[in-house]
């Protein structure tokens, strides 16, 4: 380490939120995840929010091409990636322009001054450079000629100037590592692994990162570094994990716990494709992944695998979910276990592929012909995606039913520390297949769960036919009998309704009764929990309940929603859970619906809650 030539003050902070922004080709997602990794390994609680355009490479320097990654890290427990960044790293004028509005007043801006050329300024719609015209005077601006300094650091390496420029994000990352006292070691290790076959890139990125760090240390533009102490997390071994990673690991774990082979078939769709990519790396578990010709084939093949006695599963997003509708109805009719992962995104139609929304609850609950009951579960945080992928399979196997698992783009791409469970903490998912021909009928049912037996082809003496036509109760032959049809409708409904006995009650955070309950599901959890914590500290009579089971609801849901004077249901949709809760429990719940394809901010929930409380 070089000797410091100027005094640097260290300031202790509880929580910092940084946003990295640049061209979609600038490597902002990698930069952000490396910073997150370093913060997580250091022991901070973290929460991240990547925000990238749907176009792989929009025109360089343009506003639509800006890609961002926000990370909040803290010495205490946090639930969200932060409402507004304290620090903005802007790699070009477009990145500055499109993110400046979110920065906290007086926040820090670090810009790559080399990118503020007349051409780039014009592309971003700046008449004059904001670095010169005084428009940033309310902020603490640090101009660094990143491109030039980085190129100098890489001199002598046999690389084109374009390749050299591709490492400048690591220079910026190095500066941030210095500012926040983070170790470069995890990133060095990551580089060694990623570029094992191309040592020159390891060296180049290493130099870029170290040069950025050294620049921060030796120049006089920073007079303070910031220290965010480790958070007090529950004991255990942790890793940083995104929702999609956690989902993939959960699905893998379910098949190991069930001791049945995993078959994951999927058609590429943002933001669910990473689950297919990741599971495809685990071939040595004997699992099979299948990229199908379309969304329908993907679920069809999964049903085929479940029919064969395996864990057939498929993953998609809203538009693909729409295509799978008829097949999901078939799975309801043949009563086979199946898990359908829907990583929701902005809609309707193609909508906003990379942006988050909670728009598919109706689709999951009702999006099929006739009355076609399907259990629905929804994790609340990226790390919870693991437990709920396992839980979805527990329900599917125990109750012989397809299950819809609703994640969303925010959970899928966001990350947080995950305490890795030990194998003895995981449930036993083994269920037997029926092999005894004595007294067998295809639609006989378990008296407790109403599940029908799972009989797989290859079992002698149990040859039978299943299919989409209505079946005669117990015997399972095709039946057009009107009373039988009514009975089968009741049985299918009752089978799913009884799952309520097999799931935990709805937990309330806060007083068991009072002025206001905020009821939520899915990824709005973090902002709502934070808002409620802070209102409770201010003495408000407010509670929060998070529904993780959306069909059936936990048995005590009606009691919970009736115990408060007001019920507020914030959702990133036009009021889907709201409609169901009002209809089912006849409570005058009100919605808070902002469908902007981004998560709620804590302050928005707080303001809304105060407003509702003020009316009492």
């Amino acid at each position: 380490m070089t000797t410091r030539e100027h005094e640097i003050e260290v300031q202790e902070l509880d929580r910092v939120t940084i946003r990295f922004a640049g061209d979609s080709g600038d490597g902002m997602q990698v930069t952000g995840s490396q910073f997150s990794q370093a913060a997580a390994v250091f022991g901070n609680d973290i929460s991240t929010l990547p925000d990238y355009p749907a176009e792989i490479r929009a025109p360089a320097g343009s506003l639509p091409g800006v890609s961002g990654f926000q990370i909040s890290f803290s010495s205490s427990e946090i639930h969200t990636p932060g409402d507004r960044p304290d620090v903005l790293v802007a790699m070009n004028p477009a990145a500055l322009k499109s993110n400046l509005g979110d920065l906290v007043p007086g926040g820090a801006i670090i810009v790559n001054a080399d990118a503020f050329t007349p051409t780039n300024l014009a592309k971003a719609g700046y008449a004059n450079s904001p670095l010169d015209d005084g428009s940033l005077s309310a902020y603490n601006v640090h101009e660094i000629p990143v491109t030039t300094l980085n190129a100098r650091a890489l001199e002598g390496l046999e690389m084109t100037s374009k390749q050299v420029d591709l490492t400048r994000n690591f220079f910026a990352l190095g500066v941030m590592f210095f500012l926040f006292e983070r170790s470069m070691e995890p990133t060095f290790r990551w580089l060694e692994e990623k570029y094992a076959k191309r040592p020159i890139f390891i060296e180049a990125n290493r130099r870029a990162l170290s040069a950025g760090y050294a620049f921060g240390e030796t120049t006089e533009i920073f007079h303070t570094t910031y220290r965010v102490a480790p958070a007090n997390l529950a004991p255990g071994t942790y890793r940083n994990i995104t929702g999609n990673e956690a989902t993939a690991l959960g699905l893998l774990t379910a098949s190991q716990l069930a001791e049945r082979p995993l078959f994951y078939s999927s058609y590429p769709i943002t933001p669910a494709s990473e689950i297919l990519h990741q599971l495809s790396l685990y071939k040595n578990f004997g699992l099979k992944t299948f990229q199908a010709e379309d969304e329908i084939a993907a679920i069809g093949a999964a049903i085929g695998a479940s029919y064969g006695g395996g864990l057939g599963m498929t993953g998609t997003s809203g538009p693909g979910m729409a295509l799978k509708t008829e097949m999901l109805g078939l799975a309801v009719m043949v009563e086979l276990p199946l898990v359908v992962v829907d990583v929701q995104r902005g809609g309707p139609s193609t909508g906003l592929p990379t942006k988050t929304e909670q728009g598919d609850l109706f689709q999951a609950l009702f999006g099929r012909n006739s009355d076609s009951p399907v259990p629905v579960v929804a994790p609340a945080t990226p790390s919870e995606c693991f437990a709920f992928a396992v839980e979805a399979w527990r329900l599917a196997l125990r109750h012989m039913t397809p299950v819809v698992y609703l994640s969303d783009a925010f959970l899928a791409t966001g990350s947080e520390p995950w305490r890795i469970p030990t194998t003895d903490e995981l449930p036993d998912l083994r269920v037997p297949s029926r092999t005894d021909p004595e007294g067998f009928y295809p639609y006989m049912r378990d008296p407790e769960t109403l599940a029908r037996p799972w009989v797989v082809p290859g079992t002698p003496g149990l040859e039978h036919r299943v299919g989409g036509l209505e079946k005669l109760d117990v015997l399972g032959t095709v039946s057009y009998d009107p009373d039988n049809h009514h009975r089968m409708m009741m049985l299918r409904a009752e089978k799913v309704a009884r799952i309520a006995r097999d799931i935990p009650p709805l937990e309330v955070f806060g007083p068991p009764e009072g002025d206001l309950l905020i009821l939520s599901w899915g990824s709005t959890y973090g902002a709502i929990r934070s808002a409620v914590e802070s209102l409770q500290q201010r003495g408000k009579s407010i509670a929060h309940a998070q529904l993780r089971y959306l069909n059936p609801f936990p048995e005590n849901t009606g009691d919970v929603v009736r115990a408060y004077k007001r019920v507020l249901i914030p959702e990133v949709n036009m009021g889907q859970l709201l409609l169901v809760i009002r209809a089912k429990y006849l409570v005058d719940a009100q919605g808070f619906n902002l469908v902007r394809c981004k998560p709620f901010q804590i302050s928005e929930i707080q303001t809304k809650a105060e407003h509702v409380l003020g009316d009492l």
């Binding site: 190991q256 040595n284 578990f285 084939a297 085929g304 395996g310 043949v334 082809p457 040859e463």
Partner: protein
Amino acid sequence: MSDNETQAAALADAGPIVLTKKDFVSDVDPRWCPGCGDYSILAQAQKVMPDFGYARENIVFISGIGCSGRFPYYMNTYGFHSIHGRAPTLATGLKASRPELMVWVITGDGDALSIGGNHILHSMRKNVDIKVVMFNNRIYGLTKGQVSPTSAYGQKTKSTPGGSVNYPIHPLVVALAAEASFVARSVDTFPEHLQETITRAGFHKGSTFVEILQNCNIFNDGAHREFTERDVRDDRMLFLKHGEPMIFGKDRDRGIRLNGVRPEVVRLGNGITEKDLIVHDESSEDSTIHFMLGRIYWPEFPVPIGVIRNVPRTTHDALLQGQIDDAIRREGHGDLAKTLAGGETWTVGG
């Protein structure tokens, strides 16, 4: 041992299985219209099913929607009557996860080539080891008589009272273009030919597509009659035999030869001999002549029947398993605890 391994081992230990047609007749009475061609197809399938040496429980019939879709109910094996056009998708997932099973897909011209067209293409090109048997009656029968993708141009149906404005698909050309490794055609009213074709399809390892010209006597009666009737069939159909010249006619006096790149019908004699005719090579890797056979049709040409293409290719399930075996050889068996703790971790003391 997993369930699958147990079953595979049981299958290997079991020795020769002796079954008869009766074993494959289920207790459900067929409910097709009297006189339907499907009855014959069912009977021939039940008759040859014992020949494959599979126990009943290791055979699965999967169908879509249409009159053909009822087929599985009548086979005393495992069966799955799925939804319109999608049978190949279920069959693909089943075969991929249970390679030891023999999987048949029963479909029709609307099911396979209209609503389910995409699945036929991809199950064939992936060489999924499923036997697709398509009943081609050139009409939508179950929905009572609408135009199908194989209906004739100009054909009047309930949905085309002014005549169909669409050109029909040539099913075998589609199968060939999709790289099916076994492609054949037969006729519902030719019991022996049908038995032989189903038998050969059953023994093929890989994606198998069999078109059966089938008569719907209610909504499209006689669709194939012009060339399948007993008194004309020899003159109007070409019975393909591997390694033999393409000769047809009651008197075996006509044949197909190439004139440049075009096929033409020639009469033997006057200097034209068998040597001038195309010799059928079902196992040729080059599929040019197979495409020609899939395309030529009555009345310009005799209608070819028999096995058109039959090439060995590694099956989809074997390739999938191969990747698993490679991964295990390379990395050892997957360790869940290790995988869960993958990447950078840190420990918080307790």
